[in-house]
């Protein structure tokens, strides 16, 4: 099931459409992601980036379209997919430890009723080591910083031992150490021929961290290898304004691109 076949796509999305009340939030999105790709999804606020991931994972209902994972419908292939949701989607005051949260990633493998045991704890510790959080295993999650929380979520996804990972804004608001840890992890996953799809908010780092990019603004503006697709023209079409930083010196121009991003007032995210 997971051997790589030439030309086989890890993820295929066709005509995916999601509507909120009467407005399309995602319209007719097609996407074919080859195995082993690190894909960034970028777009302005309200472009439907989180919605896309949630629709692929079946967390929200799509008005139309299909998703195939390694050629089969998603519900059949859940075991192959790992998910890192946004940090803010959870109450971090919940009484549980870091290790416990990571072990939740194994619940899918355990299935109904079976309890997590030593093996699950070992796998969880391994995942925690990979993200540099092994020392925090017994820590209550409310005592973690934002970056630490993010790494716990990553570990939870890693422990799922999936072939495809979806991550929703993992770099949002994290410290430098965490950012480095996440990037290292991404590269390792890519090297292991895993496919990783990441909703990303920072345009500047896209060429550094990712192989492919999907420019999304309700519709798929362009998708493909970064060198081909991540052009000023495409970005303009996506963000609707001038994206200064690509036209020259990169340093410190992030402020301008930010302004360009905010200029494009798109539809509100469905975010249910």
């Amino acid at each position: 099931m997971t051997e790589s076949m030439d030309g086989r796509h890890a993820i295929e999305v066709a005509d995916l459409t999601v509507a909120y009340e009467d407005k399309p939030v995602l319209w007719d999105v097609d996407l074919a992601v080859p195995e082993g790709t690190l894909l960034a999804i970028v777009g302005p606020n309200g472009a439907g980036k989180t919605t896309l991931i949630k629709a692929i994972l079946g967390l929200i209902e799509a008005a139309a379209g299909q998703v195939l994972i390694y050629g089969k419908p998603y519900p059949e292939q859940r075991r192959l997919v790992g998910y890192v949701p946004q940090r803010g989607s959870v109450d971090w005051d919940f009484p549980t430890s870091v290790l416990d949260v990571v072990m939740m990633g194994r619940y899918g493998h355990l299935g109904w009723l079976r309890r997590p045991g030593r093996r699950e704890a070992e796998l969880a510790m391994e995942a925690l080591e990979k993200v540099g959080m092994a020392d925090f295993a017994g820590r209550q999650i409310s005592q973690l910083s934002g970056g630490q929380q993010q790494r716990v979520f990553l570990a939870r996804a890693l422990v799922q031992d999936a072939d495809i990972y979806f991550m929703d804004e993992p770099f949002q608001g994290v410290d430098a150490t965490t950012e480095r840890a996440i990037v290292t992890l991404l590269k390792e996953l890519g090297a292991a021929n895993k496919t990783v799809v990441v909703v990303h908010h920072d345009l500047q780092s896209v060429p550094d961290y990712f192989d492919w990019v999907l420019l999304l603004n309700v519709r798929s503006i362009a998708a493909g290898p970064v060198e081909q697709v991540f052009t000023a023209e495409n970005l303009r079409r996506t963000y609707g304004g001038r994206v200064a930083f690509l036209d020259g010196d990169r340093g410190g121009a992030n402020g301008d691109s930010q302004a360009a991003l905010d200029e494009r007032q798109a539809l509100p995210e469905a975010g249910r």
């Binding site: 967390l59 949701p85 959870v90 009484p95 949260v101 619940y107 109904w112």
Partner: protein
Amino acid sequence: MTIDFTLRTVALGTAVLGIVSGALGSFAVLRRQSLLGDAMSHAALPGIVLAFLLTRSRTPIVLLIGAILAGWVAALLMGAVVRYTRIKQDSALGLVLSVFFGFGLMLLTFVQRIPDAGQAGLNRYLFGQAATLLEQDIVTMAVLGGIALALMVLFWKELKLLSFDASFGASLGFPMRALDTLLITLIVVAIGVGLQAVGVVLMSAMIVAPAAAARQWTNRLGVMVALAALFGAVSGVGGVLISSSGGGFATGPTIVLVASGLVFLSLLLAPNRGLLARWLQRQRSRRRLRVTAVLSDLYTLAQQHDDPEHAHDIAVLRTMSAGSGGVGHTLETLAERGLVRQSRPGHWTLTQAGRIEAERIARGEEE
């Protein structure tokens, strides 16, 4: 002896109530659905009355089933309203609570017109009459409560997943909606079990208070649930004992007050989280800051003075610490630690050790 026996029965009944509602209430509280207990217990009333009207039987199990079914319908309705409309959860709760209860009251007036139904007085369902619990009531409560607890333990990890990160659980393929229904059903059973003892109005407290208290003492879900069960039982038994001590206190409200008292004490006294603990920690850090500040001030004075051994008037130090008191006390603490020395009354200077320490602090700050 009869009195003792009744007391034991009642105490046992309320203990069961406390355990079941405490344990299951933990999940409601963690999911920010604390008031679900309030809504469900009010919503149970029409179920109870209808069950009686349809079966003309007042056996607890029948009424209990009516309560559970009504609570269940209410929960489903609430869920649908919140999911498909823009009505928020608190409004849905209040709506269901008041409308169902009002409907129940209306039905109750039917009942009261039936000749032999004089016993089905309002008070029993509003405030419960723990004192009238019979042994078979306890058995029913224990069996149903036991089943609910067993299911909770069985589906422990699924319920934990539901409460902590439902969308992650959905991505794993677990049917989160069904699990939500399961949890709500368990809570409704817990409420049904407790209604006879504390009644509709006070049942909500038994869902919230033990769990809220328990949360303060632990950071582990399992411990919290167990502790909540314990607190619930203590509230139940404690309330019964106090109310039967002849003060004329109604049982139900007394149980609730014991539970509330436990919450109050927990909020105050719990280690780490508790208000007292937090106050102590604040005092400790303030003291630490003051020690550092006074030491640094002495160091500054020593540096600026020709004679480093010169002892400085405490008044000077006080001026430098303007706004934060306790300079004298801090100096004494420093003296105990061998960092300063009072060479003449009211005049202080750094010792050798004190100078080293002050230098260390100064370096730390500059970095």
